[in-house]
């Protein structure tokens, strides 16, 4: 029934191989390359749809398909196996669906770029890795995907590798991800070893780990429960991949990559891998209230911290990057308070509206770039201070960007509203929630509404501040760019309807929460077992909902006042709180602090290893050996006179000795 599951990652891999091997020399044609890449991921999307429909009609909700044995070491048996359950099916739809749209968009956006084939090769490789991550039925296959997406992220951030900043950003992303990966592996080892040595269950398979997780409840390690230590390690992995405190700094820098990359990898899919991983291991996380509290708190702090930085950024993509970090914080809040369904729900809606926002910003940048290029200007096409008033010039982009802004701010009946309110409600009312986390999240929601509308107003409204020469060359983008925008904006609008909260559903006439029902087989077990639930009256829930809508409206209102009605207000504000502005503008100097704390000392260690150890000791040994040999041969060299008589003399002596030995024997 499900045995063709391997086709889903196979198509992008095939596309990657074709474009990678043949793209440069044989295919060359941009349209063909783009069609191959987009077609590959679209085929995966079709297959995913088929299996989703099949799964919806199936009574058994979890299917494992083993394609081949990977390694069989002693009692450890690892397979190339895939797992299809509601969680992975949903992720498949997000990855393949949004991925297809972004591939299509890229054909227009990357038109005429150097290394067009390379871009699509990497994109397909990314899709393959992400699908492996999502589909893997055991932690090692997931880890292959986990590392694969990290690699593709590195390659795509450094796509413009001739730019120093892009190369640096790529390295930064890779190294910070490695820190997280270290945590992931450590967590995996702890679980594997404890389950194996103490309970004789040697496995890395997710289903088996989940089934046997209860065995770990009594085990201790370092004064904490084994599950707490292991899940904290896993969470470290998640913070690296999903850009949470303290490992978030790579994501804003990752905006050096092309905009479709930012949309696909650094907004919609890869960065949500951490959330997905926690969802996949929800049983382990549910067993440790400590870890869940840490997750929720880190998520909340990240949400508000990143949002605060978003206030003062002028680069449109950076605003969106910090917004992504902040929204990921919301997802971790959800995971931390036990609202797994809400977290995955927000993951999905966020994928829609954030991809739309990024692609919209890409469309603007594309247009700005062409206009500035046309006028031979060197202004930054990403700086919002050079934009403004683009609404008339780029109506489709404006409309979709605006809809997504409404969605991310959480206005009623847009997708973000349902997912965010669900998270806030759980943070408030869950057995694992706390009022503190809820309060922080509400403030972060207010800030989100503010800075998103700030970006919207600065880009599309008011006076056009573009250099006069380039002003009239700004045009709407072609259909390959606007079509994905429209589709994503549509999804951002209606995508939330699959997860209408019970309280609203009841009010509107028994509309069920389809998503919760769909994901229940994955999460219900642990939620029930460890008594994770949100309890409160419907009145409380509705009032909270109204409150969050009011907060969002307040954020929008403040932004409108500051950036539409009184454009001189932000300047005044900046001058009055110049010190605060300096801190926010420079991202709280976190990068500089990391430089002082970690980077410089690591560099010093590296320099020591290089100049102190490698050059002096290792090279010393190697060069010393060579010098000794050289000195010896300088002595021996004198025997090589080049005069044949010397050689003949030696030969005569040798012959005499040999004959003498022969005679004397």
């Amino acid at each position: 029934m499900y045995d063709k599951l391997w086709l889903i990652p196979f198509f992008p891999l095939l596309g990657c191989i074709i474009n990678g091997l043949l793209g440069k020399r044989f295919i060359k044609n941009e349209k063909v390359i783009g069609a191959i890449a987009t077609g590959a991921i679209f085929l995966s999307f079709l297959v995913s749809c088929k299996y989703l429909i099949q799964l919806l009609g199936d009574s058994v909700k979890s299917h494992e398909v083993v394609v081949a044995s990977w390694m069989s070491v002693g009692i450890l048996q690892v397979d190339w196996g895939f797992l299809l359950d509601p969680l992975s099916a949903l992720m498949l739809m997000v990855v393949c669906g949004v991925g297809s749209l972004i591939h299509l968009y890229s054909i227009g956006y990357m038109h005429g770029e150097e290394g067009f084939y390379r871009f699509f090769c990497y994109m397909n490789l990314f899709a393959f890795s992400m699908l492996m991550l999502v589909l893997g039925n055991n932690a090692l296959v997931m880890f292959v995907g986990w590392e694969g997406v990290g690699l593709c992220s590195y390659l795509l951030i450094g796509y413009y590798f001739e730019k120093q900043s892009a190369g640096d950003a790529a390295k930064k992303a890779f190294v910070m991800n490695r820190v997280g990966d270290f945590g992931f592996l450590l967590g995996l080892f702890i679980i594997f070893w404890t389950l194996g040595s103490k309970h004789d269950v040697w496995t890395v398979n997710f289903m088996e780990i989940s089934e046997n997780a209860h065995l770990l409840s009594g085990d201790m390690m370092l004064g904490l429960g084994v599950t707490t230590v292991a899940t904290l390690c896993f969470f470290l992995g998640a913070t690296g991949k999903s850009a949470q405190l303290p490992l978030y700094t790579w994501l804003p820098d990752a905006m050096e990559g092309p905009t479709p990359v930012s949309a696909l990898i650094h907004a919609a899919t890869m960065v949500t891998a951490g959330v997905y991983m926690i969802g996949r291991m929800n049983v382990l996380f549910a067993m440790s209230p400590t870890t869940m509290a840490v997750v929720a708190l880190v998520g909340a702090l990240t949400a508000i911290f990143a949002a605060s930085i978003g206030f003062a950024q002028n680069d449109i993509k950076r605003v969106l990057a910090y917004s992504t970090v902040s929204q990921l914080g919301f997802m971790f809040i959800a995971m931390g308070v036990g609202a797994f369904t809400a977290g995955i729900f927000h993951l999905m809606t966020h994928a829609f509206f954030k991809a739309c926002l990024f692609l919209g910003s890409g469309s603007v940048i594309h247009a700005m770039h062409h206009a500035l290029h046309h006028a031979h200007l060197n202004d930054d096409p990403q700086d919002m201070r050079n934009m403004g008033g683009l609404r008339k010039k780029m109506p489709v982009t404006w409309a979709t960007f605006g809809i997504s802004c409404l969605a991310i701010s959480g206005l009623p009946f847009f997708s973000g509203f349902f997912s965010k309110d669900e998270i806030l409600w759980w943070a408030f009312a869950s057995t694992r929630g706390s009022k503190l986390v809820w309060a922080i999240a509400v403030i972060a929601a207010f800030m989100t509404a503010f800075y998103m509308f700030r970006a919207l107003y600065m880009t599309f409204h008011g006076e056009q501040r573009t250099n006069a020469k380039a002003k009239d060359h700004v045009h709407e983008s072609p259909w390959v760019i606007t079509l994905p925008l429209v589709v994503l904006a549509f999804l951002a609008t209606v995508g939330g309807l699959i997860g209408i909260p019970h309280v609203l559903g009841n009010m509107l006439g028994h509309i069920p929460n389809k998503l919760e029902h769909f994901l229940a087989p994955v999460f219900e077990h642990s939620q029930r077992l460890y008594e994770i639930e949100a309890h409160g009256t419907a009145a409380t829930e509705v009032s909270l909902m109204v409150m969050s809508v009011l907060i969002a409206l307040a954020g929008i209102g403040v932004a409108t006042v500051m950036y539409m009605k009184n454009p001189e207000l932000p300047g005044k504000f900046t001058r009055k709180f110049s010190q605060l502005h300096r801190w926010v503008y420079n991202k709280w100097f976190v990068d500089e602090a990391y430089d002082v704390l970690f980077v410089n000392s690591t560099k010093k260690l590296g320099t020591f290893c290089w100049k102190g150890f490698d050059v002096k000791v290792i090279d010393g040994i190697v060069n010393g050996t060579a010098k000794v040999v050289g000195a010896l041969s300088a002595v021996l060299r004198h025997t090589q006179t080049g005069l044949f008589q010397n050689y003949a003399l030696t030969m005569v002596f040798g012959t005499v000795v040999m004959v003498a030995i022969f005679i004397l024997n």
Binding site: Q645, N646, L649, V652, T655, V656, V659
Partner: protein, 167 residues
């Protein structure tokens, strides 16, 4: 009587050989060498190999030595002869003395034996040396003989190529 004659010829051969290695002028060396060849030819006659003695004189003393002398004259090496014409005497002397000791010891110690053939001195005298050599060479050693002819051909071609002005 015969032994005295042998010693006399041997003395001349050794002295001539000494001239070859000690004379400063290549022409003198060459003349010494011719002398040695003649002495060896006499030895060959004493060993009942008259044909070998004949070709010794014709090929060596005649052809090869003339060739050598011709080259010496052609290159006209008079200017070079003034310089010191030897080097490394001590070590070379030790080496050659060791060779001599080795060989003399070998000769004194060993007994010369082997599968004796049926060609006695009497056979040689009755049948004729040339005929014996001819029979052996064109029956038993026919293939080496042919190969030797090819070797000579190669040498001729090689000599022509090497001595050409534009190599």
């Amino acid at each position: 009587m015969e032994i005295i004659f042998f010693y006399l010829v041997a003395l001349v051969a050794v002295v001539s050989g000494f001239l070859v290695i000690r004379c400063q002028s290549p022409v003198n060396s060459a003349l010494g060498l011719v002398n040695t060849f003649f002495c060896l030819a006499i030895f060959y006659v004493m060993l009942h190999a008259p044909f070998m003695a004949a070709i010794q004189i014709m090929v060596y003393a005649g052809a090869i030595m003339v060739l050598i002398l011709f080259v010496i004259m052609l290159l006209n090496l008079g200017t070079e002869a003034r310089k010191s014409y030897t080097h490394g005497i001590v070590w070379s002397a030790i080496a050659s003395l060791l060779v001599l000791c080795n060989v003399i010891y070998f000769i004194k110690r060993g007994r010369v034996t082997g599968a004796e053939g049926d060609i006695t001195d009497f056979t040689v005298q009755s049948v004729g040396h040339v005929e014996l050599i001819g029979k052996t060479m064109f029956t038993e050693f026919l293939l080496p003989f042919e190969i030797a002819s090819i070797l000579l051909l190669v040498a001729i071609v090689g000599a022509v190529v090497l001595a050409k002005k534009e190599v």
